[in-house]
């Protein structure tokens, strides 16, 4: 289990790369490697993390330029082989621009950059990224974004719902996906989705920022322990 490697991609403008690296290496004690965007070697990473930030200054559209970097060609190959890819915040935006996940992240409905802890509900705990949680579990995990408003057309939205690809949803304290609990205007309160084959997850909230009690919440740790237990075939351990 200690040989599991997480590759954290670093684009110019990434700013949560060190948080992800810290969570993997110092909190979970696993191997972590920074992968510069110009590289084309994933260094045998089992899981690729596309971290949050403002890759290439968010020029043109968030994530649109990162998509064409050398490292992303390899990340796409890795995903097509069934390798795990976790896109957080800007990483989620990159995954939609790359076409590894459907939809797009639009400007927040409020036009404001929203930085706060939000309540999430685990709507699918049968994925490699969420099996350490129980179904319907409520989590407190921070968001920090200006473009997190998940949009897709009606048909794709219905497909996402019907095939259970919505993993995390913004909810209120009662666990209801109410409009008032929607921080950015995302359709159906979507906070995180997984692809059809279940190996690529994108989410706007930051699980890597909630893995230590010191930071106010350890609710994000389930994402990492889910991956670790899926890869090793063991029972998930919560922190």
């Amino acid at each position: 289990m200690s040989n599991i490697t997480f590759g954290v991609v670093v684009f110019p403008g990434s700013n949560c790369d060190h948080d992800a690296y810290h969570a993997v290496k110092h909190v979970f004690g696993k191997r972590a490697e920074f992968l510069w965007h110009k590289e084309s070697d994933l260094r045998q990473s089992d899981v690729i993390i596309l971290p949050g930030g403002f890759s290439y200054g968010d020029y043109l559209r968030c994530g649109s330029i990162a998509r064409f970097s050398s490292i992303m060609k390899e990340v796409v190959r890795h995903a097509e082989r069934g390798g795990y890819v976790l896109g957080i915040c800007n990483g989620f935006q990159i995954l939609t621009e790359t076409g590894l996940l459907p939809g797009v992240l639009l400007r927040n409905r409020s036009l404001e950059f929203v930085c706060k802890h939000v309540r999430l509900r685990v709507d699918n705990n049968d994925t490699a990224f969420s099996c350490a949680y129980s179904a319907g579990q409520l989590l407190s995990i921070p968001i920090a974004h200006g473009e997190g408003n998940f949009y897709t057309d009606d048909m794709t939205l219905a497909e996402l719902e019907n095939s259970n690809q919505i993993v995390f949803r913004y909810v209120n304290g009662h666990g209801e996906a109410a409009d008032a609990a929607n921080p950015n205007g995302s359709r159906n309160n979507i906070a995180g989705i997984v692809n059809r084959s279940g190996n690529v997850l994108g989410m706007m909230p930051h699980p890597e920022r909630s893995v230590e009690r010191l930071l106010g919440s350890t609710d994000g740790s389930g994402v990492f322990s889910s991956l670790l237990s899926t890869i090793t075939g063991s029972v998930p351990v919560s922190l």
Binding site: E97, V104, N108, Y151
Partner: protein, 82 residues
Amino acid sequence: MFKATITVQLRPSILDPEGKAIENALRSMGYSTLSNVRVGKHIELSVDASDEEQARAIADEACGKLLANPVMEDYSIALKEI
């Protein structure tokens, strides 16, 4: 050589909160006759091509791959020989 002027717009079905905010500002300034504000992008570039058809094909491909995202945006291309 052609100069391409590309306009990228959010698709009509997509809410444009930036356009709405601008519209509200215009209204508060007293412009009661202005409405339907939509914000888009204006991109200019030169295309080295032998004729307009080829220039359009190249610009169109660039729009489809990078300059616009068909999930949320439409684009139009105007060409002028330079």
